[in-house]
Each structure stands twice: as structure tokens, then as C-alpha cells.
Symmetry: C2
Subunit: 341 residues, 2 copies
Amino acid sequence: MVGRAGGQARAAVVGTGLIGGSVLLRLRDAGLDVAGWDPDPTTRRYAREQGVACPDAVEEAVAGRDVVFLCGPLPTLPETLSRVAGATDDGCVLTDVGSTKAEVAASAAAQGLGHRFVPGHPMAGADRAGVASATPALLDGAAWVLCPGPTGMMAFRRLAALIIDVFRARVVPMSAPEHDAVAALSSHVPHLLAGALAGAVQRAALRDAVLALAAGSFSDGTRVAGGPPERTANMLLGNRGQVLSELAAVRSFLDGLTDALRDGDATTLTAHLGEARTARLALHGRAFSTHHRQFPATVDHEGELAYLRELGAAGGHLTGCRVDGGGVTYTGHLPMVAEAA
Amino acid sequence: MVGRAGGQARAAVVGTGLIGGSVLLRLRDAGLDVAGWDPDPTTRRYAREQGVACPDAVEEAVAGRDVVFLCGPLPTLPETLSRVAGATDDGCVLTDVGSTKAEVAASAAAQGLGHRFVPGHPMAGADRAGVASATPALLDGAAWVLCPGPTGMMAFRRLAALIIDVFRARVVPMSAPEHDAVAALSSHVPHLLAGALAGAVQRAALRDAVLALAAGSFSDGTRVAGGPPERTANMLLGNRGQVLSELAAVRSFLDGLTDALRDGDATTLTAHLGEARTARLALHGRAFSTHHRQFPATVDHEGELAYLRELGAAGGHLTGCRVDGGGVTYTGHLPMVAEAA
């Protein structure tokens, strides 16, 4: 765990809305010495009412901490990172919870913070917002992406150990660009498709009849089109390159389906739909194998970094990270090749 | 209600799988004299075990009936229609429950059955299949499309009265081509988009990582891609022209979203997403106004047909159809213009 010899870690959370507030309450419940901060005075007051220290100055909240979670909105992160880095020791681990990772990782590297900033992205529902919806259980057992970099392996180990210990997280190690490519397919492109379907219906002459006869497929396929347009637009724009690239792949598959349909080619159409079905069935039907990997206390972490990134890219995750005498032992899980039929 | 003077209607169901079996059991529970038939001997035996008459010959099941529901698969309908028509009186109303309507309507017209065949499509979940999943409650309160034709108004009235009475159905009157255009957007195109998304992930280098990090948007947006490929392919091919046409409208909206994203145009992107959101919010938030309309017992039903088709095209439905002295009184419901914000 992140921390000082013989004691629990001291942690801070900057930006205590839904995610940050939930992180804060969970760390507090786990017995850590925590402090929060938010730019909004009402939110700070609310945190104090929960019994959590929440000073008016961010510098005061983060000073002397071992780990700081940056949980504010994406566009604010570079500036917050710089401010918090200046107010903490060089041994303090910094991480964030934003939904895209390449930009903030580049910003941290440009600020010379690659050795102690570990980009992060816990997977949590975003149907609600605000500190009043925060709960210690929100991120319990969540898949939690962390992006280890070549100079930041020690910080990664400490942070991974902490969030596994406190949140029972499944840590998914990935490079920042790979995370963003994955997020494009697993979340951002689905938002575009939902918007296109709902938008076409909004413009249709028979709009009201379509809504009257909407089947489960339509209701499911447009659910996220009901979210706030500004938030969805920011999310898409924050990962523009990867979204456009993965959308092209989806359009290409759609072209194949459309061509087969236009040609009346039932065999090809069924084959394409069968290919799609394989991915869908694997969503809930995968079994995992467990392994342990040890890495020594060396200066060169190339092998360790390669192991971690390969694990995440293969759909795997960590549930154990034990740092011992300078070395580390990971408990890893990989999806097995055989899939539910 | 369909029926003879002074008595309950006598009904038959041909094809007693999930939908047909549920229709059969519900008619039986409502006190009608019913008989079923299915090409599969095991299914016939199962129906008999439920206490329903299920003779081995379809002609025997339908002879002397006032109404026959044809519930077999789409490709079998033209032949079944011809066979059942030949074994029933000219006053017997025939209907089906297939998911597309233009083809079967044309087939009935070509067979000279327009005066007594009323194309139908009850909206029911199709996650399950087979008679063992059939229940009397499956279609309770369902939206149920009926397609009245110019020569079949008397048959429409009798059938609408029956299914409102027995199933508490919301009857949605539409022309067959309009039904198929609506079904393309409300069900068929969503299946294509789900297939394209899941299919692109299946081909992605990071497939397993995408599945590991799949958000609710991905899970919702691919749900129907888990269905049987053959069934989905048949459904799409059965409505090919309308599906391709409505898919083009969805692609066009997607192009607008993509252009705004590529240009980094947050204002336009947000506006398009806001347009999509309007349709999505209207899906569950609509209020309806109620009205009554009477039509006399005339030979010319042009006004009545126009009223019914306009009602369905506007997203409305019927919950009452009272036939009295040759005239009819409909209880209709229309979505109100003000929408949930």
C-alpha cells in the first residue's frame, strides 16, 4: 500500500463530486487519514458535514499527503496537476479518474511528473452526478484502469496496491493510447450510434408511430441518447481521434451487413451476424485463469511494464500487488480462450 | 367481438409456438371455444396436455371457426393462408402475427382474401421461443398493429373488438407499408447497429480489453446482437427495402455527428445530440388525449379508413371498438404535443 513505514497512507481527493466524493468516503471508511477539496464552497461544506477534513485551500488539503486523487473535470486536469504537484513532496503519488488518458498523460510528462503521476480511470456508472450521490460503495470491485509509464513503475505499484486493498478493484493496466482506443469502442462510439438512431427518429415523418411501437432493441439502443448533450459532446471531443478511427471500423462492419442485406445474401448476412454474436456472448460468459508474477527491485522495469500492458490489452486484470523488499508480486487474471457458446 | 349472434366467438390458432401458444391460452382463458394446430406433433401433444383441442389436421382445427390467428413463421404464411382460407367459411376473419406486413398483405390480396384477412403484429418480447414459454399474459396490454384495408373494414372492426376485449390490447391501425417503415426504425435498424458494434469489436485487436471495460452503453447497444443470427437475418431480409431506406436516414444523422466531431465543433455536436435526446425523452414521457369517433353502417368506409390510418401514423391507438347496429364507435388515444422536457 501507498504509505510511510509503519503507518497507513495519508490521502487527499481534489474534486469531490460523484466519483471524487465516493473515493473520499471509501478511503475514510478504510481508516486512512484523508482530506478533500473542491472549488465549490457548498461541496466543501457538505464534505465537512460527512466528517471529512476539507480546508478552503487546495494546497492545505494536499500538503504532506502520500497519494492524491485528482477527480475534477477533464479540461481542468492539467492546471490542477501542476498546482497539486507544486504543493506536494516529490514522493507523493498523483492519479486522476478522467475518461480519456492520452492527453493528461502527455501533460504530466511535459510537466516532468511521469515518475509520480499514474493516469487512472475507474469504471463507474455516470447516470448520476454530484457529491450528494457519492457513496463509499460506488467503486467497490470496479474495473479500474491504471496507465503505468516507463519512469513511473514504483508509483504504479504503490497505487495499484492501495486501490486493490481499499476498493477491491480489478486493476486493468494499459498504455494511455490503448485505453483511449478501448474506451472509444466500449463507450464513446456506442453513444454516437445511440444518438444517430434517436436523431433519425426525431426527424422521421412517422416519429410518433416509431415511438409507439418501439421494441426493446430501440429502447436499449437509444438509452444513452437521453444523457446531457454537453457531457456527451465533451466526452467525444476529448477522444476525437480514437473515436473517429473506431467509428470507421464499425461503419466498415455495417457496410458488410448492408451489402449482404441489399444483395439478399442470407448466408453472408447470417455469417456476419454470427461473428457479432460471438463478441456479445463473450461479454458475460468469459472464464479467467489466475497466475502470479514476481519482478525484482531493479532499476530497469521494462519486463514488468511489458507484462502489465500485455495483461490489460488481453482483457486481463490484477487483484493482487504485494510490494516486498523492493520486489513485487502480482496476482493476475487472463480470460481463457474457450468461450461460452 | 367476433362471433355469432348470441354466442361467444369460436377461434383457432395455427402455429402454436411462443406467440401462437400465448394467443391460444389467452383465448381459452377468456372463455372462447378454441382449437390449435401446429405442424410439430410434439407441440400438438403439449397443447392437448394444456387442455386445448389440437387435432392432427389443420382443416379440422379451423373448420367452422369465426376467427383464425396464423402464427407460423413468415415464409410459411402465404401457403398457410391459402390452406386455411379454403377450409373456412367466407365470413371467417383471418389474421397473422408476423413482424412485417406488406408481403403478406399483398399475398392475401392476390388470393382474393382482402375482405377477411387483416394483417396483424402484436408487439411482444422475442427473447424466448417455443410453446413451453407461452403464457396467457404474454400479450396482455400489448401494442397490437392491425392493417385495415379498403375492402376489409368489417373484418377489422370485429377483430379489433376481439383483441381489445380479450387481450386488453392497444390496437394500432396502420397501412401495411407504413407499419414496415416504422418497424424498420423501431426494431430492424437497431438490430443492424447492434450487430455492427459487436462485429467491429469481434474483429478488433483489443477485443478482450474492450469486453473487460464495456460500459452500460456498450452492453445496452449490443444486447440484441446476442440473438439467433438466422432469425435476425430473416427479419431483416423480410423488410429489406424499408430497412435499407431507414438505415440511410440513420447514416445521414451519423454523418452530421461525425462531421461536427471531426471539425471539433462542440456547438453543432451538442445541438445534434440535443435533437436525438428529444426523441429519446419522448419515448417514455408522452401523455395521450382520449376521444371517441363514430362511423355509420355504410358501404363506403373511406372516411373510417383514413381516420384509422392517421391515428396510427400519429402514434395513436384504440382501446375501444364497439360495433352496434351496423355502426361502430372507436375509443382513440393520441399523443399530446407537449412533451416531457
